[in-house]
């Protein structure tokens, strides 16, 4: 009895679900063990702890985000491949290789992972890499908080992968609509894994939002007024405003659903006064802005890439700022377009429909401004520019289908169909993923000191674009054939199988693109001396990050720059002036700390404890978080000083170190 209480709802049976699931378990555990073994064999644990895990350097935190997000991308992609395979074979009497419950867990995991742990991870990673450099500052406003945010994200990642090993995942779709996600219909731990993995990661996102917002508002270098900020910084400003406003909604909503499930409350149950439709409103009040949270930074990256590689100023900067801010505000006013079919009536639907299509206006303006940035430029078609071209040519389709979906009377037909699925993959892959991959290609030399291999990069772009089209055009067509999303099998008389098979082939082509990218990184590391970025300015850049050596030193700037114009580095190069004062001054940098690791570790334990109703362990974990945070306040010296002379010495050697 005592033991039963201690173990909560844990049971041995959750270890075994079948051979297909065993593959996932073995892969996860095996992967973790392999990494641990390699670290031990090469005696790299201390190095990992000192150089990476305890770092307060935003760039290194950014790299860790990107590494984790890439691992999750592979997992989310694996989920996609399984779904595609299932749908390609499960026509008629064949029920495929996945039972419906497992299939539903897979698409829930796919959506959750791709949004929360891939897209969000890449976004925060890239912002960490470049935002402080672009703003001409040495770090983010709160470096330790930044590291805590990362470890909360990592805690979510660990939980979501743990669900693969022990237990199950929600089989409810990535937004877990109640009443399906309530205890009555989903009694297992799957929904709890979903809840707590994104709950913990989401709190990290809120903290990051505050951090970057304050960084932009307070830490811009001397002379950088708002209207002189790079457009990427503007896009991050809009994004972080959204994060700070909407992530608390997510937190509250998930918390209420957790109370329903763990404490027998009735916020969103169908009966006893609960209102499941309130959940759907709340989750989309977060969920729609979330889409813009992901895509705005990508828009910012495209703006930087297209201006730099067209060797020309960004066209219509002021228009761009207005368009960004318009999108930021409008994104709050469109959430109900996700459920026109709830039947709220003509007035409500028309309002939300029209607000949605209004967003197409500033987005269209941005596209034209990008086009006219290319106009009368000298366009260098390097890999980042290929990503930009891939984006514009495919994203237009996604934008147009979005406008179709925004008309309520049309949405009544295509809602929840594969047409919708194709649409949002079209916006997320073309808009967000291409942007982030382009951003990685563009800023990689700044962080690592060598460029990425060009030909392999272009091969990757080609595979992604071709694969994307071959995957999703059949999915658009299937929507018109009446195929709904999330079907694990279908009737052969409908004639869908051929298209599903083509779509699966497309996914393989995307997979080839992923392989090319991994290969690109491998080959680039191999040939890093050939590909070395000697000047720190591989693209003939325009903004401050290109004015420091590559790889960017951990303190970013030995002397803080002073800017007087937009595109300050470009201007300085044109006029032969310097952005830096001649005098070096002393500055302080944060000391490494393991606080983030501890907070994230306890948060992860807490999540696991709540999922399995191990209340004693949950209490221990909360006490642990409180203890380490309080203990931290007793650390008097959390920074160290770099003297003026030391700064000068460091500056002289920066960028010379061979990787």
């Amino acid at each position: 009895m005592m033991l039963a209480n201690l173990l909560g709802q844990m049971e041995w049976s959750y270890f075994w679900h079948g051979w297909v699931q065993f593959g996932g378990q073995a892969g996860t555990v095996g992967g973790a063990l392999l990494v641990a073994a390699l670290l031990t064999y090469f005696k790299k644990w201390t190095w990992l702890w000192r150089e990476w895990l305890t770092t307060q350097d935003a760039k290194k935190i950014g790299v860790m985000y990107i590494v984790v997000a890439t691992v999750m991308l592979l997992r989310g992609f694996g989920d996609a491949v399984m779904m595609k395979l299932q749908q390609a074979i499960a026509s008629g009497h064949s029920s495929g290789f996945l039972d419906s419950e497992h299939f539903q867990q897979i698409f829930t995991a796919h959506g959750t992972i791709m949004i929360f742990f891939v897209a969000m991870g890449l976004m925060f990673g890239l912002i960490n890499l470049v935002l402080p450099l672009m703003l001409g500052t040495r770090d983010v406003a709160f470096p330790t908080l930044n590291s805590i945010s990362f470890y909360l994200y990592l805690a979510g990642v660990v939980l979501v992968n743990l669900s693969l090993v022990y237990g199950e995942f929600g089989a409810v779709g990535w937004l877990a609509y109640p009443p399906l996600s309530e205890l009555a219909y989903s009694p297992g731990p799957g929904v709890d894994y979903w809840l707590w993995s994104i709950q913990i990661a989401g709190i990290g996102s809120t903290l990051s939002g505050i951090n970057f917002l304050v960084t932009i508002l307070k830490l811009r270098c001397k002379g950088m007024t708002f209207m002189k900020m790079p457009i990427f910084a503007w896009s991050v400003l809009g994004t972080m405003m959204l994060v700070v406003v909407v992530f608390p909604i997510l937190t509250a909503t998930l918390f209420m659903l957790s109370l329903d499930r763990a404490m027998g409350m009735h916020f969103f149950t169908a009966d006893l006064g609960g209102n499941a439709m309130m959940y759907i409103n709340l989750i989309w009040a977060w969920g729609h802005p979330e889409v813009y949270i992901l895509v705005l930074p990508a828009f910012g990256m495209y703006s930087e890439i297209v201006a730099t590689l067209s060797r020309k100023r960004l066209f219509g900067y002021t228009s761009m700022v207005w368009a960004l801010m318009a999108i930021t505000v409008l994104s709050f006013l469109v959430w109900a377009h996700h459920f026109f079919t709830m039947g709220a009536g003509g007035n409500v639907n028309a309002f939300f429909g029209i607000m949605t299509m209004v967003i197409a206006i500033p987005t269209g303006v941005k596209v034209f401004n990008w086009l006219f940035t290319m106009y009368k430029g000298r366009i260098e078609f390097m890999t980042p520019m290929w990503w930009f071209m891939a984006f514009v040519t495919t994203f237009l389709i996604g934008g147009a289908t979005g406008v179709l979906l925004a008309v309520p009377a049309i949405d009544f037909q295509v809602h929840n169909s594969l047409f919708l699925v194709a649409h949002f993959h079209n916006t997320i892959i073309s808009g967000v993923v291409f942007g982030y991959l382009g951003g990685i290609a563009y800023w990689f030399p700044k962080i690592f000191g060598f460029r990425l291999h060009e030909r392999l990069g272009k091969a990757a772009v080609t595979c992604w674009v071709v694969g994307f089209l071959v995957t999703f055009i059949p999915i658009y067509i299937l929507g018109f054939m009446g195929a709904t999303r999330r079907l694990d099998h279908y009737d052969p008389s409908l004639g869908w199988q051929g298209l599903f098979i083509v779509s699966g082939i497309g996914t393989m082509i995307i997979g080839l693109g992923v392989v090319f990218q991994l290969l690109q990184i491998g080959v680039s590391i191999w040939k890093r001396h050939e590909l070395r970025d000697q000047t720190g300015d591989p693209w003939d850049g325009r903004t401050l990050e290109w004015s420091v050596p590559s790889p960017a030193p951990h303190y970013n700037f030995a002397r803080l720059p002073v800017v007087t114009t937009r595109d300050p580095f470009w201007e300085a190069k044109q006029q032969g002036t310097s952005l830096y004062p001649s005098e070096y001054t002393a500055f302080e940098l944060p000391k490494n700390t393991g606080l983030g690791v501890l907070v994230g570790g306890f948060a992860c334990v807490f999540g696991f404890a709540v999922i399995w109703h191990l209340w004693w362990l949950a209490a221990v974990a909360v006490a642990g978080v409180v203890f380490v945070l309080v203990r931290r306040t007793f650390d008097d010296v959390v920074e160290y000083e770099v003297s003026a002379a030391e700064a000068k010495r460091l500056d002289a050697h920066a960028g010379k170190a061979v990787v």
Binding site: S100, L272, F315, T341, G364, V403, L404, D491
Partner: protein, 314 residues
Amino acid sequence: MTLLWLLGSVLVIGVLVWLSWGHPFPLIQTRGDIANRQRDLLFFATLLALLVLLPVYFLIFTFAWRYRAGHRKEYKPEWASHKGYEALWWGIPIAIISVLAVVTWVTSHSLDPFKPIASQQKPLHIQVVALQWKWLFLYPEQHVASVNEFAFPVDRPVELTITSDAPMNSFWLPQLAGQIYAMSGMSTQLHIQANARGDYKGVSSNISGKGFADMRFTARAMSRPEYGAWLLHAVDTGNRMDMTAYEKLAQPGVSKTMFFGLDDTGLYDRVILKYMAGSTEHTQNGMKPTDADQPSPTKSSADEGMDMTHMEGM
């Protein structure tokens, strides 16, 4: 290289056409007035979108070709703003979206699924209950019930009132009228009318658990005599639908097509009432029986606070 791309594109398009040719396209091959208008609206909005898309495609490829490095066309690195041009591309999208906004406002009302279809004939009233994982159709006036299939006379408007005794589902009948959510404790409506006889396939388009993929139904638009025969056949099966039979049917599971005579014409209201505050306890396998003494509410009073038509302006 260009040739390769061209050949590849033609090949892919060819394969896609070949694969989808001759198969049903319910969103295009519509057979009801509402769905016809939805489809026409889809075509109209697509054309409108192409008005922006085509010039952009033209411009991006032209600019990319013309201003590529090494081509040495005119180079104006400082040219970064032009009030007139910018006004143009704020203006054109605003104009196009304005047109679409007006169309949206009008059609959101004229094609509102709650809006009855104007007709000389009295609408046929059918109640729909989404169960785990089957659709129950109730004909309170004809005293008939059926599972996963319902019939109605062609050219006569049908008013479907829809609820759920299961996780949320969406009742989608693409060839006739689109879809509407089926939600516990609430009643939504979908008005349909078939312009041609035929069996039209419908599905649940919102995930509702394990058997969701099999949650299909057939809407059969019949001639009057056929419809009469269909009703008689349902009663002739000897199956009776009442609260007891309903409880059995509501157990989770996929079902074949079934027919019943309907004894309890207040069944639909009872299903909704189960979810009203505090009256009963929700259990995993559906609901415990409602209090038999509970008065069957008239439609208007049952709708208080749950009929979504009252939530307009929410």
